[in-house]
């Protein structure tokens, strides 16, 4: 039983990332009708915003510390981060420690602006073109973004540790009445799961309970009628593209401590997230979230040794296998609506 719960927990963090990316993909698809192959790249940019903020916070100058001596008896030169200099040592160190969560403040406006520019500058011209063209141009964009990141940050993964307060593990087993250490779960993954639940809930709340969200939902259902009612639906859809980019960016920032960012993670996640979207049902937001968590957890179950002993290699292919089965038995995915992508 404890092994069972452990696998569910293990699947949650990956599932959260899938769900967040798939949510953004579905938002873009549902509103603009564009299949965005560059969404994984946006996730990757988010992760690299965390890297950049961490680097910026550690920017330092050399200062001569009179109180310390090196082994020759000369005053020691120490690196003094600017943050420590400006805000005092305690605040500066706290900011460096918390650089990943603090990056969220930077990533939201940055990714929103980036999404906005992308939509106005590039995607806008592809509404009338076939889906294949949209896939191709965003695929090219994803290559370009990935290579740009590689040119600036190199090809190696860059460590971005979480705040030291979240470094350890939580003993979930004790809380549920099992033996101590039966289910130890890294704290940051728990934080990631909670964070993604908050983001998903706020996106849903935004769509459900605000007037803006209501108009957007109306536009998703029938774009023309909303336009005829005198609402500039394009503007709102552009906003939704920015929002989807920001969601992907936040997912990326918070994922950086779990998986050290490198220029290819976007593509790795994108392929799986597309599978997630298709399994959930093209254009269905709850479907995307549900499928994201479901596939994350399934993947973690498939990597159990007991399962692998029966079906060797199943952990590598389970997601694709599920996708194939779902697509053949339920063509519209788990919760897909009628008439989406069926022309």
């Amino acid at each position: 039983m404890d092994a069972f719960i452990l696998q569910i927990l293990n699947g949650l963090d990956k599932g959260s990332a899938y769900a967040l990316i798939a949510l953004g993909l579905t938002l873009i698809f549902g509103t603009l009708g564009v299949v965005n192959f560059a969404h994984g790249a946006l996730f990757m940019i988010g992760a690299f915003v965390a890297v950049t903020v961490q680097k910026l916070f550690q920017f330092s100058y050399i200062e001569i510390d009179e109180t310390k001596k090196d082994f020759l008896g000369n005053p020691l030169k120490v690196e003094m981060p600017y943050l420590d200099h400006w805000f005092g040592t305690s605040v500066g160190e706290w900011m460096q420690d918390w650089s990943v969560p603090l990056s969220i403040l930077a990533v939201i406006p940055f990714m929103f602006a980036l999404g906005y520019i992308l939509e106005r500058g590039l995607i806008k011209h592809f509404y009338k073109r076939p889906h294949a063209d949209q896939i191709l141009v965003t695929f090219g964009l994803a290559i370009v973004i990935g290579e740009l990141v590689k040119a600036f940050y190199g090809a190696n993964p860059i460590q971005t540790p979480p705040p030291s307060a979240f470094l350890g593990t939580i003993d979930v087993g004790v809380m549920l009445g099992f033996d101590p250490n039966a289910i130890a779960y890294p704290t940051w993954r728990m934080v990631y799961f909670a964070f993604s639940v908050v983001i998903i809930a706020s996106v849903f709340a935004f769509l459900r309970f605000t007037t803006f969200g209501m108009v957007v939902r109306a536009g998703m259902a029938d774009r023309e009628t909303v336009g005829l009612l005198g609402i500039d639906i394009d503007k709102r859809f552009t906003f939704m593209f920015g929002l989807a980019a920001a969601v992907a960016g936040m997912a990326g920032v918070m994922y950086a401590p779990i998986l050290s960012p490198h220029y290819n993670i976007g593509m790795d996640f994108l392929v799986l997230s597309f599978v997630v979207v298709v399994v959930g049902g093209m254009g269905s937001l709850p479907g995307a979230v549900l499928a994201g968590f479901m596939l994350g957890i399934l993947q973690s179950f498939a990597s159990m040794n007991e399962v692998k002993a029966v079906f060797p290699g199943i952990d590598q292919i389970i997601i694709y296998l599920v996708a194939i089965i779902i697509l053949l038995t339920r063509p519209r995915g788990l919760m897909g609506r009628k008439g989406v992508m069926e022309e």
Binding site: H125, P130, L136, L141, I143, V144, V278, I317, L327
Partner: protein
Amino acid sequence: MLGLNSRDFKLFVIVCIMALAAPIILNPFPTGSALGQSFNAGYPALLQRFVIFGILAIGFNILFGLTGYLSFGHAAFLGIGSYSAVWMFKLLSYNVLPAILLSVIMAGIFSVVIGYISLRRSGIYFSILTLAFAQMSYQLAYSVLTPLTNGETGLQVYNGDPQVLMSAGDPTIPHLFGITMNGQSQLDIAGWSFTFQNGYYLAAIFLIASFYLSIRIFRSPMGLMLRAIKSNQTRMSYVGLNTKPYMLAAFVISGMYAGLAGGLLAAMDPLTGAERMFWTASGEIVVMSILGGVGTLIGPVLGAGLIKYLENIVSKINDNVLHGWFSFMPDWMDNLFVTIIHPFIGKGWHLTLGLLFMAVVIFLPGGLVQGGQKIMGKFSRNKTSDAKDGADTPAE
């Protein structure tokens, strides 16, 4: 001639000449000169890649160009072809004929299965299904199927392999009835030196045959049917036509082309790994076809050639070469230009490729062929009907 109309026949002859004379045509600069070092492409290793990826792109075009079904998992067949060919080397002998035969057959069998399942959906669902199958093959080749694929080491021929048809005098490299693939003859004229390699010519003959077959398919009733499916599949069903067999046939033919390319790759270099099936490889096939001009006969071959050529050239350029080019400028300008261009060359080749690809998709959906037609149209205004004639096969 040969069952082709005069226009197609002209195109076919041009392709034949290009393929057979490529070692000469692609060596325009003297071998020793600086330009020759940088821009000549007429050496066997690169020429082989031109024709093999050309075959791959021709096959992909039969599926995507005619039916509009975008397969994102075509590299799987390439990998299957390569693995089958190397297995033939291991089991029978280094003769390439059975190897290539088996690679085509195996790719055909796999494409029947994958195609039968994937073609039950269309549009993006089809793309995702093919992608899923290709990724599955890739992952399995790396993990469970290691006895068959030799995992990360890559499949190759070892001394202990049976090679039952191998007799004492046979060469221990891939050969066709004794003619070794890497055997070559050299021709030196003044500063030029041309290399004619057996392996290249084998691949070139396959390219010519594939190209001929693809023209025949494009002009056949079946080709027409496939194009009708592309323009409106629903209507085809309404008039009482079962589109499935046609689609499956196109998919299998295209998969067999990929298998042939994979077999040839293994024939040139009897070593293969799972990375040939990775989805970036599939992406590359798509990029080649789009760049050249999908749905046109010659486009994919041009695209494959151009990408492999640029990949080779651009990866070779480094900062020193650039400084050499800009040496006539003042120093600060030279350095500025080199700094700007630096990310795009050498290891940054994929960045250049991505930008080029985006530019083509945005501005020239019909690829290079459409670009060529536009330029031709500018020169001959009175012949606009000709340009329109070519414009009825745009990319979709």
